[in-house]
């Protein structure tokens, strides 16, 4: 079993209004089978034993599905592996003696709460504004009465796999949330069930996105490159089309 030792430069910030700084920690004899977060656990255990405060970071499933985790590692959202959340990165991806920089997401719309934890509730408010199909419990029709071609269902599914982690925003130099928003708009706009609110939805979600202070999209594609679920840029193209089409529809007609 291989082990490595690494130096960590970790962003520490006590609270939202604190200025924050990098602190240096040494992680010695780390088993390369460990996940990156397990390595942080080990560092934290040592900090606690030394009577210091452990590094606050967000995580839950550690399986790449809940979207809780999210760290900037050596300048990359979710670290070195493509299509992988940081909780699924293992220490075998790092070299012995390496210095690793660990930072929180940085975006105006995601204020830092503590150390590596940021507030991503803006995403929830975008969904609350329109990221749904309005169907009260009990009013659904029989499931197989809505056939959906497999290819369409698969495309909608791909878009729906977004985990809401915010890496797209963090990776973007404009801190744009277009990839996140486009994933939900695409998911619902492709499905027959989503047609009734199709235009209203896209307008509402984009309005909220703007209100939250996310930046504009300038098509650099950093979001797609860093997205752990490989959500495709073509969704952004679709979002733009949907938005334009929605603008052309008289609002009283689609409300």
């Amino acid at each position: 079993m291989a082990t490595i030792s690494v130096t960590l430069k970790v962003w520490r910030q006590k609270s939202r209004n604190d200025s924050g700084r990098f602190e240096t920690y040494f992680a010695k004899d780390i088993n390369t089978e460990m996940s990156f977060l397990e390595m942080l656990d080990v560092v934290n255990e040592n900090l606690i034993r030394e009577g210091k405060e452990p590094i606050a970071f967000e995580h839950d499933c550690r399986e790449g599905i809940c979207g809780s985790c999210g760290l900037y590692v050596n300048g990359r959202a979710h670290g070195p592996l493509k299509g992988t959340t940081i909780c699924q990165v293992h220490m075998r991806s790092f070299k012995d003696g390496e210095t690793i920089y660990v930072e929180p997401w940085r975006a105006k719309a995601f204020p830092i709460i503590k150390d590596l934890i940021v507030d991503r509730s803006a995403f929830d408010r975008i969904i609350q504004a329109g990221g749904f199909i309005s169907v009260d419990t009990g009013s659904a029709v029989e499931a197989n009465s809505i056939p959906i071609p497999k290819a369409i269902a698969d495309l909608a599914f791909e878009a729906a796999t977004c985990i809401g982690c915010g890496a797209c925003v963090a990776a973007c130099k404009n801190a744009s949330a277009m990839l996140f928003v486009s994933a939900k708009v695409t998911h619902l706009a492709l499905l027959p069930q989503g047609q009734a609110e199709r235009y209203r939805r896209v307008i509402k979600m984009v309005e909220q996105m703007d209100a939250e202070g996310f930046g504009n999209c300038s098509n650099t594609g950093a979001c797609e490159a860093e997205c752990p679920k490989s959500i495709s840029l073509t969704n952004i193209a679709r979002l733009n089309r949907e938005y334009l089409a929605a603008r052309l529809v008289p609002r009283q007609y689609d409300n």
């Binding site: 034993r49 599905i65 929830d124 069930q193």
Partner: protein, 638 residues
Amino acid sequence: MFTLDSKIPEGNLADKWKNHKANLKLVAPHNKRKLEILVVGTGLAGSSAAASLAELGYNVKVFTYHDSPRRAHSIAAQGGINAAKNYRNDGDSVERLFYDTIKGGDFRAREANVYRLAEVSVNIIDQCVAQGVPFAREYGGLLATRSFGGTQVMRTFYARGQTGQQLLLGAYSALSRQVGAGTAKLFPRTELLDIVVIDGVCKGIVVRNLVTGKIESHFGHAVLLCTGGYGNVYYLSTNAKNSNCTAIWRAHKRGAFFGNPCFVQVHPTCIPQTGDYQSKLTLMSESLRNDGRVWVPKQKGDKRPPNQIPEEERDYYLERRYPAFGNLVPRDVASRNAKYVCDEGRGVGETGQAVYLDFSDAIRRLGRDVIEQRYGNLFEMYEKITNENPYEVPMRIYPAVHYTMGGLWVDYNLMTTIPGLYALGEANFSDHGANRLGASALMQGLADGYFIIPYTIGDYLARVDFSKKGNTDHPAFKDAEKSATDRLRKLLDIKGKKTVDELHRQAGKILWDYCGITRNATDLKEALEKYRNIREEFWHQVNVPGTGEELNQSLEKANRVSDFLELGELMILDALHRNESCGCHLREEYMTEDGEAIRNDDEYCYVAAWEYKKDGTWDLHKEYLVFENVKLTQRSYK
């Protein structure tokens, strides 16, 4: 003395729910607005309940310790959700789903509840599809299904290996719609620390704001605990790291009975542990057993790589011992057989604590593309974690704690023994008896939230006094706030030498070794002693840095672990008292020569409902189970 009333309606099994609904009291729309419901938890159970109740017009407040409702542990469910749609024309029906679930649970669940679950299963699929949940489809555009352990029909609906994610996002979107409309109010990063009981009735909750540390109370005419399972009592499990028992445990200590605490499901297909630093175990969906074959070498200590072990020297032990179900035997059977072969010294991998799950036959038969279509993301996940490619070498798997059938005791209306307090989803002692079949937790969570609680809660609320606006002025609120605050302060003041994780890991190991896949009275008695010692040590030796007036993850953890350390004791006591083997609970004293469970229906055909006493002991109440529609048989998957 208190007698348990399960409130099972009269009448034929098939008519009970229909009749019950017809008899339940209703609340008029203009009165619903005056009623406040507190929903704790935003997994499948909580989100679906909160959304549905807000749609009905109730005033709903929703609490979760996550930063967003979408992060709840339900998001991680992989394999699928059952429903008796019979789209495949393969003989499925409500009756068959009912029977499979009752039998799968080894006849330790209520007939009426399970039948209702099977009945509403079909509505769940309709509801989810209408919300836009992108289930897998056939080329003709209709919904696809697959088979799952413990059944012989294809009734499992799925969305690749991410069914839980898609279902939760559906429920989350329904909830978000209500939050947007102002009918539901969301309190993220807020953890329940206690419930408030006034004159024996639940009237609210005490919560802690996890960012500021502020402790405050909320009044509710009814409180719903949808707070998930307690598998993390073992430290290592497939549950998300933050899953915990605090909500149900504190409710238990305020008077809610705890049902069947020792019924814990160990899932047979998880990625084996690699070291002491291991923080959690990763599940490989049971659906893999549809196409993967489980085997170990026939020879003890055979260290050859798998591809060098010839066919005739492999033991496909599940296919050999259970020809009818083969690799698709229920979870408890698969788990204990994996343990047996490893105990015999035939386990594989570095630690010898693993068996193979081999896809080479399926790949030969169906082609790599088909396998990739079915399990692509699971294979990818496996490779990310282990650095091995399962298309080329067999997966190594081992059982891990996965799901807790036990939980707060509830009646047919999902109400606990405290009036006004309900438990939904994995948090209740559920419809799964002594063992849950795959793909039925998602079904139960959504059944509870979408289709049961919206009916049953009205019957209670129609009787409460809502003429005055509720408030938190009663001293019981201040008392509960104080006891929650004191407990946190005590934890912070210990300043001992051990970390929370260290102690939790030790305590979890005791449970796993003595109260895990197999159990026996001698071990359990020993465990009790050891377990109490660890708890003692915890309260003297734990070190919790920081303060209570800030975001403090160590404090959150310590507080949760302090509850686990009490629950674990009750689990051991429950396991010790149940002198039979049933479902997941395999007592070594009660099994046949070839390792099959021997149930004792004469003495143990009941739900064990434990009542907490102020001095830290428990009284046992028994809800005897009556089977009028199925014959109790020894489960056989041979």
